[in-house]
C-alpha cells in the first residue's frame, strides 16, 4: 500500500520561487540488519526519485541505505507555466510509484 503526500502550491506568480514537498511511504530497509536468527534482511530501498514539470525533468535524486524510512524530499523551483508536476519513485524489488500535482501560474 504505497502512498505519497505531495505539497505543491495551487497558485503562484510567474517567476516566483516555489517549494515542493514530497513524502513517500517506504520501509527503506538498509540491507545491513539481521533477524534474531542471524539472517540478513535483504535491502529494500527507494533508489531514485525524479520530478518533471510539464514533461521537463527539473529535479532528480539518488537514494542510498542511510535514508530514513518514508523519505521526505523537498526542493525549490521557479514557477514558469501553468501545468503539471509528475513525480516518480523507483527502487528495489521492482518498486515504482508515481504521483502528480497541478499548478496555476498567473
Amino acid at each position: 500500500m504505497a502512498s505519497a503526500l505531495i505539497n505543491v502550491p495551487k497558485k503562484a506568480r510567474r517567476g516566483e520561487i516555489i517549494e515542493i514537498k514530497t513524502l513517500m511511504s517506504h520501509v527503506m530497509e538498509t540491507g545491513y540488519r539481521h533477524t534474531a536468527e542471524g539472517e540478513v534482511i535483504p535491502r529494500d530501498i527507494i533508489t531514485g526519485f525524479s520530478c518533471r514539470y510539464n514533461g521537463v525533468e527539473i529535479f532528480r535524486a539518488d537514494l542510498f541505505p542511510a535514508f530514513s524510512a518514508n523519505p521526505f524530499i523537498t526542493f525549490f523551483t521557479v514557477a514558469q507555466e501553468s501545468g503539471k508536476f509528475d513525480f516518480e519513485w523507483t527502487g528495489d524489488k521492482g518498486f515504482n510509484d508515481t504521483a502528480s500535482a497541478s499548478i496555476i501560474v498567473e
Partner: protein
Amino acid sequence: MNPARIIVVAALLIAACLARAAEIPPAERRSGSSFMAPDSQAMQSDDTANPGMLWVLDGEKLWNGKAGTAGKACADCHQDARVSMKGVAARYPAFDKALARPVDLEQRINLCRVRHQQATPLAYESRDLLALTALVARASHGVGIETGADPQLAPFIATGRDRYLQRQGQLNLACANCHDDNWDKRLAGAAITQGHPTGYPLYRLEWQSLGSLQRRLRACLSGIRAQPYNYGAPEMVELELYLMWRARGMPIETPAVRP
C-alpha cells in the same frame, strides 16, 4: 562516615522518596510535543510533512474496502470516518458491555471486525490496524480528551492508577517516579515528559514507523527492566485508560510525531 550518619542519610533519602510530588495540576500539564525541538513540532503540524498521515491515507483505503464474510466495509455502516468518528478517540478506552471491561481503540476496531464484518482480527502493530486506528483517531484531531466520563470505568481507572504508582522491574521504578516527579528533567539527553498519550498512534522517528500506545508502554516497561504486559492484556488497557483519564481535557494530536 559513621553508622549513625549513614542511618540519618538513609532516612533522609527515604523521606525524599516518600515526599513525592503529587499529581501534576491541570494547569501545568504539557503535551509531549511541547518538549520537542521546533523542527519536530513543524513536522507534526504540517500534514504533508507528517509521516503519520501516510497511515491515515492507508486507513481511508481500508475503511472503504470490504472485509470478512459479511462483505461489509467500515464505511457501509459508519459512512465518512472524518465525520462519524469525530470525538470517538477522545472517549477511548471505553467500556464494552459484552466483555464487561474497557477496550481500547485497536480492540474496538477488531471487535467491530469480528462482530459485524465477520472478519479475522488484525494483529497488534500490523500496518492495517495502525492505519485504521490512525484514521479513526485523526477524526478527533483537536478534540479534548474526555475518557473516563462513564462511571462503569471508575474501578478500572483505579486499578490503572495503582499500576501507574506501582514500583516494578529490576530498576524498581513506577511510571510516576519519572512522569509525575521528574518530568521537567532529562534522561540521557532526552526530555522525560509528562507521559500524556495525546497523539497515539504516533510516528516515532526512532521507530521509523507509526506505533501504538501499547508499544510505547512496552518500551517503557523494558526500560525499567520489568516484564512488559502482553499486547491487549487487561493490565495494559487499564494503564492506557488511566493515562487517558489523566490527560482529560487535553486536545488529541493524532498522528503526532515524537523523537
